[in-house]
Amino acid sequence: MILDLQTPDFGIALPQVIVFGLAIALVLLDAFLDKAKHFAWLTGLSLGGYAAAMVALVGQDGENKSTFSGMFVADGLTVFFSLIILSAAVLSVMVAASYIERLEGRMPIGEFYVLLAFSVLGALLTTSAGDLIMVFVGIELSSLATYVLTAFAKRRLSSVEGALKYFLLGIFASAILVYGMAWIYGSSGTTNLDGISRHITSQIGGEDFREPSLLLGLLLLVVGLGFKMAAVPFHMWTPDAYDGAPTPVTAFMSVVPKAAAFAATVRVLVQALGPLRDDWLNLIAVLALITMAFGNIVAISQRNVKRMLAYSSIAHTGYMLVGLAAYQGGQTGFGTGAAETGDQGIPSLLYYMLAYTFMNIGAFAVVAWLQHRGAGMTLDDFSGLATTNPLAAAAMTVFMVSLMGVPPLLGFYAKYYVILAAIDADLLWLALSVVVLSAVSAFFYLRVVAVMYFNEPDVQPRATTTPLLNIGIAAMVVANIVLGLFSADLTDLAERWSDPVDVEAAVADGR
């Protein structure tokens, strides 16, 4: 008996296919290209590949189709998250190129780009997952490559230590995640996200629907995803991994795996477990509060800027979780078009993630810029930067102020939408705590600015040129200033996240 196979529709998966092709091309070029040409060719190819994938996103926008028997979904959420991930990938390559080539005893640049591309591919596949299995496999692909990248400066013990902690806790989280998925599968009989949603809706009886097996699965999923996105109390690996990893890797892993984790969270909690909304919303709200509070308060005592940014990234996870907690879509998740209910929560989360990408990678890029010039990454290394290099100091100021959330910059708009969504969802206490904790965060963000402008420089920085890094920092500064002005367009795009997938196309695919 011959198997009758359907040819999947590769057209709607074009960005993912491009990144896959990029990864394979990088592997082959790394093996067969002349060593002297590695830097220029591989960097150029990576930048070009991610840019091409970003262009291909245009074709995916508004398609809302699924293929691969419902395993792959190209809807608004996919497009927006892919935009975030691909921007982060381009910026990471810009930050990484000269660092990998010159610092930490020169790391193999080919393998670096290959692993980066696979991590990006994993994150992209997570955002486009239409099935629990794809969510899991995508997260794993993304994380596994990131574990290796964390240990990339393997001659430095702190890098290996951070990677080991990240790896052990990461696979532990994966085990919990897959256990939760097993429970959900056991209670619904399907791994298809929409199928789970439909099945649970059909089973819900009465007002106070409390099903122990579903709740256990939900809890395990939240714990597993919490690890991946570094929410308190599952954040233990974050400071060591962020601190130990080479700085460009830190910039990358503070955004892309986090974006993948948030995409998975939206897919799983909103799309599949939307009918259990009442059960997880309170949980997420509490998680958001303690994450924000812990991240911001502990960051105050850090003198190592990378560690400080690690805790700040935990705090930003908390802000994004506020957006998720403010979700107020329909009972059946994606199927009925939640956008009609006027949900503000998820669009605010998406917008925040985009803003966070430009702010956070920017901050790490300046740290990398300083390392190129012989400095370390404690606060003292920033002293007097305004005298020795006013432009870098100005860039760092923009990123710090944006991370803090001060009006004309991107970070402000992001926080504004999150707070608005929280108020809209009657979570006034959560909105207030975002404001209060932002004020707390001013202390450690502005301290960096103060050190740069009011202290005397200790040492004269070493003269060196890093053109790609400079362009990247400049682009991120511009993005932080300008993107806020176009936030209306971006939120429009973000609000299309839940446009229902074209069911006819899905049926035609043999689902």
Binding site: M1, M71, V114, Y147, T247, G376
Partner: protein, 243 residues
Amino acid sequence: MPWDVIIFYLIAAVCITSAVGVVVANNPVHAGVFLVICFLNIAATFVMMGAEFLAVVQVIVYTGAILVLVLFVLMLVDPDDLPEFHTARPVQRVVGLLLGAILLLEVGAAILSRTVTGARGDATAQNIAAAGGNTQALGRVLYSDYLLAFEVVSLVLLVGVIGAIVLALPERLGEQISITRRGTISLGHPRGTDAALPAGPAGETPMVDRETPSPTPEPTTAGGRTLIMVTDPDERTTVGTRP
């Protein structure tokens, strides 16, 4: 009680006992052996559910390959040299037991009181027989419905291979592995000589520049032989007696 139920309970009992054994065994090799027994019994439960292919794959892949390599590593570990997981840190032990017990209770409660049931799939005995057997039915599903996941899993393995090579190769790839290396031992690896690295800013230390020559290291003696530690990991140290 029918025979298959009795056999199931027998297998389950051995499985759980050996799983507990993995955790409580003091000797890591014993823990590994318990894991082998546990996995074999899981394979047996697969057989009882009519999934022979999965059972055999479980044996070939997990017990036959992965655990062999796990034991390979464990056998090289001196059991007297391990951190004392079981005696030290009583607080952690108690908290761990408590959390485990709570999870067990939750799982038990969830199993006993569940009302929602999953929809039955179409993998009925007739459909499997129509496909030509268990293996064929599995292959069909794997290469049609789950094609994308299957391919992505192979990418995960590829990344694993690349990562292992990147982390395990001792030198910068392909460079500098020359004749001078033979018969010499590099003591410049940070694992051995972390203290000998130059004190830089706390945290991340940019490695020593390749271009500038490192300062001449102080010779030290160990066991009657002169060792020269180098701070740059790319340089090598000759072990031997010096005049």
